[in-house]
């Protein structure tokens, strides 16, 4: 694998431990030869360092072209693209590309190389020494949840689709690039594994904090993955560039509104977690408590019934009038606290739980299972109307 080109590189690259880069499109335009309409027309947007920017839009909107202009897989006709303030046009394409992670839908693993050699491709181009490459391969495989010993010496054909996708991401991260380009990286994966890979990538991103340009045609994936979303329409025109919450709350025009879909209000519920909204206070009572006290607690509560809890404040059930009939609170056989909601549930899931139990409200518990409040349909409908400034974006929600 020694070629004259790799011999030119002067030892280990200085970008081995790089931070994230700021990416700026400045009226970037691409007109293909022989076509009058630009594929990307005057695209201007800035991706702050360490954020995921999703380019989303219908097919033919120029999102992939826009992404490929960044590492000069497609040459820029007009305007410019700046990586940490420096124009990519002044760089030799091959060198520029080695500093930018590149993952595509078809993955494009080299079938004739083992997983380890696939990951080692760019480190070798940059002239890393063997020990460093070997250590990096293992580190990356662990990072993407693959067992180095099992995987390192296998060929791509011996892996499952999901494993190949992970290797593709590992390969793109090999030299710790300050910027990653991902073109529908999970597009060819079945829905269940796609969800898993998305979550894994978000977890990974919290660790590595790269600047990421992520192309997809799937608005749900965009909302889930993006810190910012750029909605492109035909001809690569930027229809809106905003946080997921803002996009869902205030679509800039009819095109964005249609593209986001009629259920955009529901989609917004996926951006918030139960802990993000103001819960109702729960009127907690314990077995043996005087009924008079229990009734007093109901006085200033929004819920009409007291919630019976055990010694550790874990919910046992809602009490009806019969439970409050005697001198002291008694446990009712048929009382039921369902659905029990978790502070970390997203609001959409909480709503689904409430609806499936046909309940108006449900107790919310913390990590230890103790009740901290009550979530109701009323709170949820209020959240749907709330201002997006209060709504954290997807990645910050934790």
């Amino acid at each position: 694998m020694n070629s004259p080109d790799s011999a030119q590189s002067p030892g280990p690259s200085p970008l081995s431990r790089s931070d994230a880069a700021t990416l700026e499109f400045r009226s970037a335009t691409k007109v293909y030869p022989g076509q009058r309409e630009p594929a990307v027309g005057g695209l201007s947007l800035t991706v702050p360092a360490g954020e995921i920017c999703v380019l989303v839009g219908p097919s033919g909107c120029g999102k992939t072209t826009a992404m490929r202009m960044v590492n000069r897989m497609i040459d820029i006709t007009d305007g410019d693209i700046l990586l940490d303030g420096a124009s990519v046009k002044n760089r030799r394409p091959a060198e520029l590309r080695r500093e930018i992670g590149y993952a595509i839908q078809q993955i494009g693993l080299f079938p004739h190389l083992t997983v380890g050699d696939n990951i080692a491709t760019v480190p070798r181009l940059l002239g890393w020494d063997k020990a460093r490459i070997r250590a990096r391969i293992d580190e990356l495989l662990e990072l993407v949840s693959l067992d180095p010993h099992e995987t390192r010496d296998r060929y791509p054909a011996q892996l499952s689709g999901g494993q190949r996708q992970r290797v593709g991401v590992a390969r793109a991260l090999a030299v710790d690039p300050p910027l990653m380009l991902m073109d529908e990286p999970f597009g060819a994966i079945d829905p269940i594994n796609r969800e898993r890979l998305q979550n894994e990538f978000l977890r990974l991103q919290r660790e590595i904090r790269k600047t990421v340009v992520f192309v997809t045609h799937d608005i749900d994936e965009a909302i889930k993955m993006g810190d910012r979303i750029a909605v492109l329409q035909q001809g690569g025109k930027l229809a809106q560039y905003a946080s997921p919450a803002e996009l869902l709350m205030y679509p800039a025009n009819r095109f964005v509104e249609d593209f986001v879909g009629a259920d955009r209000a529901l989609k917004r519920l996926a951006l918030q977690r139960v802990r993000d909204v103001d819960l109702w206070k729960a009127p907690l009572v314990r077995v043996g408590e005087p009924v008079a006290e229990a009734r007093a607690k109901l006085g200033d509560a929004e819920v009409p019934y007291p919630l019976l809890v055990d010694g550790d404040a874990r919910p046992l059930g809602w009490l009806s009038e019969r439970g409050l009939a005697g001198e002291r609170v008694e446990q009712e056989l048929r009382s039921n606290p369902q659905p029990i909601l978790d502070l970390d549930d997203v609001l959409r899931d909480a709503l689904a739980d409430l609806l499936s139990e046909e309940a108006q409200y449900g107790p919310v518990v913390d990590g230890r299972g103790a009740v901290t409040g009550v979530l109701s349909i009323e709170i949820l409908s209020h959240a749907l109307r709330s201002d997006p400034d209060e709504v954290p974006s997807g990645a910050d929600a934790l």
Binding site: M1, D5, R98, P111, T121, A157, Q158, L181
Partner: protein, 249 residues
């Protein structure tokens, strides 16, 4: 003329009735086997040299034409013409230039294999999936690195297939090079074309040589493309891996 001499030579050496009847005579074959060794070796050298030179030229042409697509048609046409010229005609056309012997024979054989190898190399390179080329380029491989590290290795199965066809057809074609005075098994066959023992041994050696070269190239191909067979082995090992992973959890 030389054929006539050889014929006389074979007949004079024996009074065996089997031989006199031009039959298939194992005893005669055992006694006379060494007379086939030199022609066989000549045949091997002719074939290997012609295929090697032909491969060198056709492979270079294919790499060249792969990036400069306009070259494909002219190269295909020229090598196509060379492919269709009957080799016996080629020997006589070459006589005034290269004279009789090894050079003439080699030139004619090389001209014949160019098209086969050129087409296979080009097809192999063209069949490398676009996403793999795209990923390689996107990671920062230069065109030259992409060619030698990705495209040529992935084209190897087709390149080697072309080499196998070229080698086996050259073995057959090389039985005619005695017309150019270059010896080989053909000279033996035509030395006594009526004598069954002779034809069977000389012809049989040619067939064996073709089969041996074919098998040899196949073995080399297996050795240099380990990923091709690895995917076939993957099923049991993948199951095993899953079981191990399950245990680990």
């Amino acid at each position: 003329m030389s054929a006539l001499l050889a014929q006389v030579e074979i007949r004079e050496r024996t009074e065996d009735t089997c031989v006199a009847d031009n039959g298939f005579c194992p005893d005669w074959i055992v006694d006379n086997f060494d007379r086939y060794v030199d022609p066989f070796l000549e045949h091997v050298v002719l074939t290997v040299v012609a295929v090697a030179i032909g491969f060198g030229i056709a492979f270079s042409l294919a790499l060249f034409a792969y990036r400069r697509r306009w070259l494909i048609d002219p190269v295909t046409q020229i090598t196509g013409i060379l492919y269709t010229i009957p080799s016996i005609a080629a020997f006589f056309l070459l006589l005034p230039i290269t004279g009789r012997g090894f050079t003439t024979a080699t030139v004619a054989l090389v001209a014949y294999v160019l098209l086969i190898i050129f087409r296979n190399v080009l097809a192999g390179l063209d069949n490398v999936p676009g996403d793999i080329k795209d990923a390689g380029r996107g990671m920062g491989l230069t065109d030259r690195q992409l060619l030698w590290r990705v495209e040529v290795p992935l084209a190897l199965p087709e390149i080697m297939a072309g080499l196998r066809i070229a080698a086996t057809t050259t073995v057959g074609l090389a039985t005619l090079v005695f017309f150019a005075g270059a010896g080989g098994l053909g000279e033996q066959i035509f030395a006594d074309i009526t004598f069954k023992s002779n034809v069977v041994v000389a012809g049989g050696l040619a067939v064996l040589l073709a089969a041996a070269l074919d098998g040899l190239i196949l073995l080399v191909q297996r050795a240099i493309t380990p990923w091709e067979t690895a995917s076939l082995r993957s099923r049991p090992s993948r199951l095993l891996a899953r079981r191990r992973a399950a245990v680990a959890r």
